[in-house]
């Protein structure tokens, strides 16, 4: 078990290391460098030289990579070209905000998705299933900017119940984001719930058709006892991995929603720094997102293994 954990951890570390190399070489291969990208037409003479000296761009690429990678490991992500601020600090704030959004969305979305997924599966093809399954398809297919805009129009412009835009600054505390964060959370949760709902529904339907559920029925086990003791523990195992992927998506992939609501999250920072040509920040965010993906998936695999006796013995034996 321990050796398996160590192996998975080191594999995860290797993955992140490879990603960091790819990011770094990708940036290296761009024509010009961080300074020419940032300074644009002014990239000449003294200004360029100073910039390069400030960012330490005159040393060989391998040296710079090793420097960057080793300081990134202890949390120092360098300084941005733009404001000459510590990237760790800049990104840290945004990360907190993204985590807040993700946390709220998960808190609402996951229980709701599992509940509705189970309900729609148990009442398969009944009206309740048709209503929620259709709603889920709508939630998945309507573009986020459309649903965001409609929600702002209804709840903010017409009813005036909720603020339609986030005006709180990026470094504010979590409490200060309420109630501004409510609408973005609803939009994010809608998409997420729909995905998880459909997955849970399929999984429950599969398990309901299994031999062991039929056996439990023929053993005289009452219906709800079958659902809670024989169906759900087996059907919800795959949900762990889907939720993990959703978390990673919530942190980096909800740019559109962040832009519509002016929410200061990580995704928007990435887009902003790309348009500002602030390459050190882009590198840092890419690296952080890769780490998030790897660690979230690793956690999900470990959780699945703890919850699934089959996987557990498989790894115990090794």
């Amino acid at each position: 078990m321990l050796s398996m954990l160590l192996r998975r951890l080191s594999l995860g570390f290797i993955t992140v290391a490879l990603v960091s190399i790819i990011i770094f070489t990708g940036v290296e291969f761009l024509p010009g460098d961080a300074c020419t990208a940032f300074l644009e037409r002014e990239a000449q003479g003294k200004l360029l030289e100073n910039c390069r000296r400030d960012l330490d761009l005159n040393r060989p690429a391998i040296d710079r990579y090793l420097d960057w990678a080793s300081s990134a490991m202890v949390g120092d992500l360098g300084v941005s070209v733009n404001g000459q601020q510590s990237i760790a600090e800049l990104v840290g704030n945004r990360m907190n905000n993204s985590l807040l959004l993700a946390f709220c969305a998960l808190l609402v979305g996951v229980p709701l998705a599992i509940f509705l997924g189970v309900i729609t599966a148990l009442w398969r093809d009944k009206p309740i299933d048709l209503v929620f399954s259709t709603a889920a398809i709508f939630a998945m297919t309507i573009p986020e900017f459309v649903s965001s805009t409609v929600l702002i129009l209804v709840f903010s412009a017409w009813l005036g119940w909720l603020p339609g835009i986030v005006l709180t600054s990026a470094n504010a505390s979590a409490a200060e984001f309420f109630p501004e964060i409510i609408l973005p959370v609803i939009v994010v949760a809608m998409v997420m719930t729909a995905h998880i709902l459909r997955m849970v529904r399929t999984s429950v339907i599969d398990v309901l058709a299994s031999d062991y559920v039929r056996m439990a029925t023929l053993k005289g086990v009452p219906y709800w006892q079958i659902v809670f003791q024989h169906v759900l523990p087996n059907a919800l195992l795959p949900a762990i991995n889907v939720v993990a992927l959703t978390i990673a998506w919530l942190l980096g992939g909800v740019v559109v929603i962040e832009v519509v609501f002016n929410y200061p999250g990580l995704g928007r920072m990435m887009i902003d720094s790309i348009s500002d040509r602030d390459l050190p920040v882009v590198q840092a965010i890419a690296l952080i997102l890769a780490t998030v993906y790897v660690s979230v998936n690793l956690t999900a695999d470990l959780l699945t293994m703890i919850a699934n006796p089959r996987l557990r013995t498989l790894h115990m034996r090794k």
């Binding site: 056996m215 005289g220 006796p309």
Partner: protein, 681 residues
């Protein structure tokens, strides 16, 4: 046995069916009348699609989607099952009426420990209190003869072997102290030895507890061992119902006669008689007898007048217009003997020299460092010479490496070491992608399950065209002609070309798979359990086909099977494998006549013949071994004739019994023969 003579289960004129897309009602079961009394053991036998499982589940008031009751009723203890409330059904199911499912591995909930699953049944259906239950669980596990029940309760289903899982399912069914047990193919998928042990357990239970049993199976041998009475089903009807002795020795229905004739027998070196055609699909029966289309004795009225269930003088119920005529017939004789010419002089086709195969793949690190895996290989020390035109049977329990050896010969799993020589001088490369086209063509493989080995999106024409294009570069008319020719050879005909596998029956699919192998004009055909997914009557036809093709083309077969009787019918020589090691090899007649190797003795002893007096000899435990022993005799842990330390530490030498017959054992062959002769007398 039991004085209470009121029927326990009573089924009256029951018909069950479903509606198809055109709103036609298609019956699965038709007018079933059946009573089971307390303590009675009844076998329900029939081929797939005969409705036997549906009938058993209907006794519990269970109908799978989309089935519905069309007519009639079933009752348990005078309560009409389909009229009971859900609550009342839950009381009966698993309580007075318990099910032992097919494939217990899938019928046990994977995320629950064994103890908890049995405890659940106790909680629902017994008076044991919370504190008494753990002890009762252990009692039940002991009753089904599971080793070390105290640790077993904390195991998960996947941590047990197939035989152990089946025993857990039996224990779970016994938890409610049922009046009747329904057994739905409880031993299908188990090894012969495990099956024999589970059947003995069930038989003892029936005798000890007086529980009635309804035993659903396609295997007449298993039914003969456990049941007193047998009900034969065909196309959703009961066609014959009588005592096991009567039905097996003097069947008065033509279908039962043909069914018995199609079963290969261990003591007969002949091919069983095939039953042509296939059962009618639901709704296709017409007005006459359902069996008329395949019946050898068919008369005019059979095709338009449905026979009723009549009672014979000896008290059997039979659904046949001509049962009195059938009664007069002599018992079915042995099948057609296979002509065997002496093959000792035939040239060698394939030689395996000290082959070892390992499934464990080397990790990335091992590959970088060039390390070899140091574990004991799955298959080891296999040396065999196969001569042109012969059939060699590879026999063993599951996990004995029989299919693995075939895959190594085909190059699908490269052998770890050892040589495969073709035609005496041509060294075959270990991996399939290093072999040339001609080498590939000469060795063809037929798989166990045609449902998996035929691409469901390809028509028969496309399936057959592939080898023709690949090996012979044929196209258009020539390709078409060859395809039609081979289809006629396998008795299908050119009109099958445009069909998809889903439009074929199981036997027809396997014929297509055989045609695909033979269209390449192979010299060696590897048959991997080719009949084990088929019904017995279909199996007989496929065995006949393989035998005929061999005579026509002079093909050599390596025939892998777990069924010793099938190998007896088809093979010239047989090699017995245990845990990937050869134990005995020799001509079929020598090996089967007086088993000499202890493993052969165990395997042959466990075989159940469809005969009322067939008694298995259980001489070894059915422990399941996970990995082969690194040193000593591979069979040391289960051997009933174990000598002592020498078996654990030294690999036994090959003993030459005759020029063709070799066994690998520390005991002298003559001594083994002596033990056997003493046992027989």
């Amino acid at each position: 046995m039991n004085l209470d003579n009121r029927p326990l289960i009573e089924i009256c004129d029951l018909s069950i069916g479903f509606s198809n897309e055109e709103k036609q009602v298609l019956p699965i079961l038709r007018n079933i009348d059946l009573t089971v009394r307390a303590g009675e053991t009844v076998g329900l036998v029939g081929e797939s699609g005969s409705g036997k499982s549906t009938l058993a589940l209907a006794m519990m008031g269970y109908l799978g989607n989309p089935l519905k009751v069309l007519n009639g009723s079933t009752s348990f203890r005078q309560q009409s099952t389909f009229d009971l409330s859900v609550r009342e059904l839950e009381q009966i199911r698993g309580g007075q009426l318990a099910l032992i499912p097919q494939n217990a591995g899938q019928a046990l909930t994977p995320t629950q420990r064994i103890g908890r699953q049995i405890s659940e049944a106790l909680k629902l259906h017994s008076k044991f209190t919370e504190t008494q239950r753990p002890e009762r669980v252990i009692e039940l596990l002991t009753q089904v003869r599971l080793p070390d029940p105290a640790t077993l309760v904390d195991r998960y289903p996947h941590e047990l072997s197939g035989g152990q899982q089946q025993r857990v399912a039996v224990a779970m069914a016994l938890a409610g102290e049922p009046d009747a047990l329904l057994l739905d193919e409880p031993t299908t998928g188990l090894d012969v030895t495990t099956q024999a042990h589970v059947l003995e357990l069930l038989r003892d239970l029936a005798q000890e507890t007086g529980t009635a049993m309804v035993y659903v199976s396609h295997d007449l041998g298993a039914i003969a061992r456990v049941c007193e009475r047998v009900v034969v089903m065909y196309a959703g009807e009961i066609v014959l119902d009588g005592s096991v002795r009567q039905v097996l020795l003097k069947p008065v229905h033509p279908y039962a006669r043909s069914l018995l004739a199609s079963i290969p027998k261990l003591r007969e070196a002949s091919l069983p008689a095939a039953l042509d055609g296939r059962p009618p699909a639901p709704g296709d029966v017409g007005n006459g007898c359902a069996f008329a289309a395949r019946c050898a004795m068919v008369e005019d009225r059979c095709t338009h007048e449905r026979p009723s269930l009549q009672v014979t003088k000896s008290g059997e119920r039979v659904r046949c217009h001509l049962f009195e005529k059938v009664e007069q017939l002599a018992a079915p004789g042995p099948g057609t003997a296979v002509e065997r010419s002496s093959l000792k002089q035939a040239p060698e086709v394939l030689a395996l020299d000290n082959i070892a195969i390992s499934y464990t793949s080397r990790g990335l690190l091992d590959q970088i460092l060039g390390r070899q895996p140091n574990n004991t290989p799955t298959v080891d020390d296999i040396s065999l010479v196969i001569r042109k035109g012969e059939t060699i049977g590879l026999v063993g329990e599951s996990g004995s490496g029989k299919s693995t050896i075939l895959k190594a010969i085909a190059g699908l799993i490269p052998a770890r070491h050892g040589n495969i020589t073709y035609n005496g001088n041509e060294l075959l490369k270990a991996s399939i992608d290093q072999r040339d086209k001609n080498q590939l063509r000469r060795i063809q493989l037929i798989f166990q399950n045609p449902d998996d080995s035929l691409n469901p999106r390809q028509t028969v024409a496309e399936i057959l065209a592939q080898p023709l294009r690949l090996y012979f570069g044929l196209s258009n008319q020539e390709l078409h002609d060859r395809s039609v020719e081979i289809l006629e050879r396998v008795r299908l005909g050119g009109h099958y070309l445009e069909r998809l596998p889903s439009q074929l029956s199981g036997g027809e699919k396997q014929r297509v798979a055989v045609a695909r192998a033979f269209i390449a004009e192979p010299e060696l055909v590897l048959c991997d359990e080719v009949t084990s997914a088929l019904d017995v009557s279909v199996q007989a036809a496929v065995l006949g086909l393989l035998n005929r093709l061999q005579r026509e083309f002079g093909t050599t077969y390596i025939f892998v099977s777990h069924d010793l009787a099938v190998v007896r019918a088809l093979a010239d020589r047989v090699a017995l494998l245990y845990q990937g090691r050869l134990c005995e090899i020799g001509p079929v007649a020598d090996v089967y006549s007086l088993p000499s190797h202890p493993y052969t003795e165990v395997l042959l002893g466990a075989v159940l013949e469809p005969h009322p007096d067939s008694v298995p000899v259980l001489s070894a435990d059915d422990i399941v071994e996970l990995s082969p022993m690194p040193i000593g005799c591979p069979f040391q842990r289960r051997c009933p004739r174990r000598l002592g330390e020498i078996c654990d530490t030294q690999t036994p030498p090959w003993q030459q019994v005759s020029s063709e017959h070799l066994i690998r054992c520390h005991i002298q062959h003559s001594d083994l023969q002596k033990i056997q002769t003493q046992q027989v007398s």
